[in-house]
């Protein structure tokens, strides 16, 4: 039985369909990365999974139990790290941990003990009694994470937990999460950082415009995007209609087109030399052609028609 099973989740805000039929599972000891640009529907999906938003349709089960039937058990089984630093900034790190532990239902004594453990584990013991407002961004992120772990959840939902912090602080947090998973915790991790998804997650789901476009391991996703290279052509494509060019539509599939660039995937013969030759002979002024090896970024590009950083 999966630790988390979300089935066919949908959510609409007025005219906007924020999430459209998303299904995913997270197992114990696994990190599932939900990768997508801002506005793709990651936070809305997470909000439905943690019970903050009621889905228009679909169902969430944690360890086989639904919110509807066992709200208390389900909530106790998971910890949620929101994207914002949702802490009392005037209180110390220790006070925050103890407060959120008690809100999660543990006793005052257990909260005190657990807070001390987590402060050690998060490397914050020496600043434990300073107000959170005096912490660096990375330290605040660590306390934000720690508050979700006070009641020892088995499933951890992280909503872009490394936004706005420096690389070293990010690496510390990612290492900490790896340690949690090694102890058997299941993690659902939303991010728009490709490298985080590539280096951290066991499985990745690519989401855009509210739809889960693909999911699998990193290797599976790379294969999903195709084994062939992509070709990025720089030049003057203002007003160009490549589909009308003689033989172009038979040889290439357009992945992305702007006024200054055209990204294509070869159809049929993937030989790079022949592809390059054909692209350099396009009836527009071509300035440069780059070969892009299969990667998560290219898979994302193929699936969504845009790069993640856009």
């Amino acid at each position: 039985m999966s630790l988390l099973r979300a089935r066919d989740l949908s959510k609409r805000f007025g005219e906007l369909k924020a999430v459209d039929g998303v299904s995913l599972t997270v197992e114990s000891g696994e990190i599932y990365g939900l990768l997508g640009p801002n506005g793709a529907g990651k936070t809305t999906t997470l909000s439905m999974i943690c019970g903050l938003l009621a889905p228009d349709s679909g169902e969430v089960r944690i360890d086989g139990k639904s919110f509807h039937e066992h709200p208390g058990e389900v909530r106790r089984a998971m910890g949620v790290v929101p994207q914002e630093i949702a802490l009392y900034k005037e209180m110390s790190g220790r006070e925050n941990l103890e407060f959120w532990g008690r809100i999660a239902g543990i006793s005052r004594r257990d909260a005190r003990t657990r807070a001390a453990e987590l402060l050690d584990a998060l490397g914050l013991a020496d600043r434990a009694d300073d107000p959170v407002k005096n912490y660096s961004g990375g330290m605040q992120r660590r306390i934000n994470l720690g508050c979700a772990l006070m009641h020892r959840p088995r499933l951890l939902l992280l909503d872009e937990p490394t936004v706005g912090i420096d690389p070293q602080a990010r690496a510390n947090i990612l290492d900490f999460i790896r340690g949690l998973v090694a102890d058997g915790m299941g993690v659902l991790y939303t991010t728009h950082y490709l490298e985080e998804a590539e280096t951290l997650c066991h499985r990745i789901g690519i989401i855009d415009h509210g739809r889960l476009l693909a999911e699998g391991t990193l290797e599976e996703l790379k294969r999903h995007g195709g084994e062939t290279d992509l070709f990025a052509v720089e030049g003057d494509f203002n007003g160009a209609d490549p589909a009308a060019w003689d033989g172009f539509a038979e040889a290439f599939r357009i992945i992305q087109q702007t006024e200054r660039s055209l990204t294509v995937a070869p159809l049929g013969d993937p030989d790079p030399a022949r592809c390059l030759k054909a692209l350099l002979n396009l009836p527009v002024r071509v300035e440069n052609v780059t070969v892009k090896r299969p990667s998560l970024n290219e898979t994302f590009l193929r699936l969504t028609g845009r790069e993640l950083r856009e």
Binding site: Q83, I85, L87, E90, W100, R102, A104
Partner: protein, 378 residues
């Protein structure tokens, strides 16, 4: 229930940790209580005003001394002739033969002088009336002594005994046709208590909720097994605790420093302020749910609290306001709270006499709670 207490205590600790909030909780109300208390003290209270008169007692007998005591009994503050003229522009000269003439059954005259302006003021009339009453009383005591001791001349001890005995006939005067009004600290303490409790609770409540919505703290609480009611009442409870700290401080200062008689109606005062702080806290939380941004919340709370305080009569005795404004005061919770406090503190009412005010406050509180639950936003 545990979560309500936890959220409430945590919020209260956070409020009190901010030293800036102490200014608004303690310093500002106290300053205004003092300032307004002096500004509206009771200049015309006939029982309390004791105008000063200079007395030049040249009497060689004892009746001058008896007359001085009588002047004091009649509400005049007797000063010796070497006091500065500014302290008392009026005075009385008692002639050397005052006692001798009275004992000889001859008419004795007192000299009254006034070194003030040409136009007599109300204090002149007050002094004149009290002087006249003192003369009448002295004559009365002489007659009473003559009746009690036929054939004996009056003695100082005998007249002093009559002065100390209760008068045979007295007039008990009360206000007729109009209500007395709260004055001095008995006016400024409840007025400022109501105004600052309302203002602080609205602002602290609204701004805290807006800030916690912005930072995601409320959303985070909602993720845990915290119900909407627990979140709402936890926040309200925290604000009421904060209000209790302010109330306890101001009531203690009122009772022990300013001499306002709080103790005799303490249960009613406490009950009124608990209800009122519940109303204010619920309204503050409601504003926090409706408005985003702490600065906007503060502006709106000021725009609500200050007119509500003025309308209720926190700044000036409501009796000075036109009738329609006196009725309008009942449209705001501050009006009902202040009305109950004045009834308790100034007019000596008991809880049974303020049930209308308590009922109105409860109605405001219930309405604000329903609205806060209806517009609950995280």
């Amino acid at each position: 229930m545990n979560n309500i207490v936890l959220i409430g205590w945590t919020n209260t600790r956070l409020f009190l940790r901010d030293k800036g909030s102490w200014v608004w909780l303690f310093l500002m109300p106290l300053t205004f209580v003092g300032f307004m208390g002096f500004a509206v003290r009771a200049p015309s209270g006939p029982a309390e005003a004791r105008p000063a008169v200079l007395i030049d007692n040249r009497d060689e007998g004892f009746l001058g001394r008896i007359f001085l005591r009588e002047l004091g009994e009649q509400g005049l503050r007797v000063l010796s002739p070497d006091a500065a003229a500014d302290d008392a522009p009026r005075g009385i000269v008692i002639p050397p033969d005052f006692t001798a003439r009275v004992l000889a059954h001859k008419q004795a005259s007192l000299e009254f002088f006034d070194s003030g302006g040409d136009t007599p003021d109300k204090e002149d009339f007050l002094v004149g009336a009290r002087l006249l009453r003192a003369v009448i009383a002295l004559n009365g005591h002489l007659a009473e002594h003559a009746v009690a001791h036929p054939g004996e001349p009056p003695t100082e001890a005998g007249l002093a005994a009559l002065l100390e005995s209760p008068p045979s006939v007295s007039v008990h005067a009360t206000h007729a046709g109009r209500r007395p009004r709260p004055v001095g600290f008995a006016f400024s303490l409840p007025g400022n208590l109501v105004m600052y409790l309302f203002l602080n609770t609205l602002i602290f409540g609204g701004a805290a909720v807006a800030e916690q919505r912005r930072s995601g703290v409320l959303r985070r609480m909602a993720i845990h097994a915290t119900t909407r009611a627990e979140l709402l009442y936890g926040t309200i409870f925290g604000l009421m605790l904060l209000a209790a700290v302010q109330v306890a401080f101001l009531l203690a200062v009122g009772q022990f420093v300013l001499g306002v008689d709080i103790a005799h109606s303490l249960p009613g005062i406490v009950l009124t302020l608990i209800l009122f702080s519940w109303v204010a806290a619920s309204l503050g939380v409601l504003i926090g749910f409706l408005v985003t941004g702490e600065e906007k919340v503060v502006g709106i709370c000021l725009a609500i609290a200050l007119p509500a305080a003025a309308l209720a009569g926190c700044w000036w005795p409501l009796e000075f306001a036109p009738a329609f404004l006196q009725h309008a005061a009942l449209a705001v919770p501050t009006g009902w709270a202040l009305r109950a406090l004045h009834q308790l503190i100034t007019f000596g009412a008991g809880i049974s006499q303020i049930t209308t005010s308590l009922g109105a406050l409860a109605a405001f509180g219930i309405a604000a709670n329903f609205a806060a639950l209806r517009f609950f936003r995280i």
